[in-house]
Amino acid sequence: MYKNKKGQPIESIEQNPSQESSRPSRGISRRSFLSVSMLTGCAALGVPLQAGALSEFKGWPKSYGMLTDFTACVGCRSCEEACNKANGMPAPDKPFTDDSVFRESRWPSAAALTVVNRFENPKDKTKPTYRKVQCNHCLEPACASACPIHAYTKTPEGAVIYNEDLCFGCRYCVIACPFNIPGYSYESALEPKIIKCTLCHVRVSKGQIPACADACPAGAITYGKREDLLKIARKRIEDNPDKYIEHIYGEREVGGTSWLYISGVPFEQLGFPSNLPKKPLLELTEGYLSAVPVIFTTFPAIFGLVYSAMKHHTKKAGKEEEHGHLKEDDNE
């Protein structure tokens, strides 16, 4: 069984059969990581990957996702509270009934996996629009492709989950994420930890639904099969063309995400990145990323050799110079 650093079992990993069969029983050590990198580097030298050679992946069939309807959200913050409790996180400084948090724009971090921000509603100034932010669980996650140690897994159920036992703290995932989501816990330098929404993978594996969707009283967060949610989203837009803008965010962005959104306000006004490509970021980065193991393994060796050669040369030159001085002294 997989265990985390405190020795508690990690159910989510164990229940994933593909991981169970292929992974060791304890987190990989730094040494074995380096040896794996070395092998990968050698393999990459011999067989370089070709960008664009991937076949089109439309997501796991029958996978689950979420649909957030911003026209339904009333900003009660029940989702934030439920998420906090379900993940056993410390209570925030301000209670969840405090609306002063809406005065500033907040973002998910190591302290909160999801936050709700308030925006002005240009259609009706008396009814603000609220935007819930969390990991979007991309169908082809850039975080997972950027991770050199494969600490991330896109599960067939839909969640992008992370194994902290494998992580060595490079934070490539933080940089790779097009939505700027993974939070980094700076609590311990020796035990790095990335923190982000898990789509309540553990709850789902027990037959429950994600805590935020369960808590939402307004029907603003719906959990279900992604293909069903797309149909619901399309129907809502079709039945209420004045209420919604004609865009399901996440249907196609970066190749599609498991978390989908519909809104009455244009998404860019709610802080969503509007310039994302429609194809997975993996296709844009894999050429560069394939070079990472090579750089990791060969560059230290090359620079190490150059450094020792230079040092040797400087020492030799220094000795010769010293000898010269001594001879001059003798002559005097």
Binding site: G75, C76, D98, K127, P217, Y223, G224
Partner: protein, 133 residues
């Protein structure tokens, strides 16, 4: 499990619940007393909330009425069903069917968002219905 305490009253010859006490989350909040008669008067039409026939969500009679003459007559006489007659726990296999909690709140929010702080602050929930214990 939800506990409803309903006091029936007669409106235009039809017996309807007068007030309904909803107390299934009384660990967190005081029970909510819903004045059904007042809301029925404001809505003017029972089908506005009890939408089993007025919306497009249910299209096939047999989804609710058994295709057996006696059973059909019996079920047709039941009139308007309570929310819990159709809505129960949410199932991800039927994402188009809101759970009971969402069914209740969606109806409340149709009118109450914008009244007091509901919709502009989490405090609105406590002001409108959910008084803290």
């Amino acid at each position: 499990m939800m506990v409803l305490k309903a006091m029936p009253v007669l409106v235009e010859g039809m017996e309807i619940p007068g007030t309904i006490v909803i107390d299934h989350i009384q660990k967190q909040y005081n029970p909510v007393t819903f004045d059904h008669t007042m809301h029925a008067g404001l809505a003017g039409n029972c089908g506005k909330c009890h939408h089993q026939h007025s919306e497009k969500t249910i299209s096939v009679c047999k989804e609710c009425h058994a295709l057996n003459a006696d059973a059909f007559k019996a079920s047709a006489k039941e009139g308007f069903l309570p929310c819990s007659g159709c809505h129960s726990d949410y199932s991800p296999d039927a994402p188009g069917m809101p759970g009971l909690k969402v069914a209740f709140h969606k109806k409340c929010f149709e009118c109450h968002v914008g009244i007091g702080e509901l919709g502009s602050s989490p405090r609105g929930c406590a002001q409108t219905c959910h008084t803290k214990k």
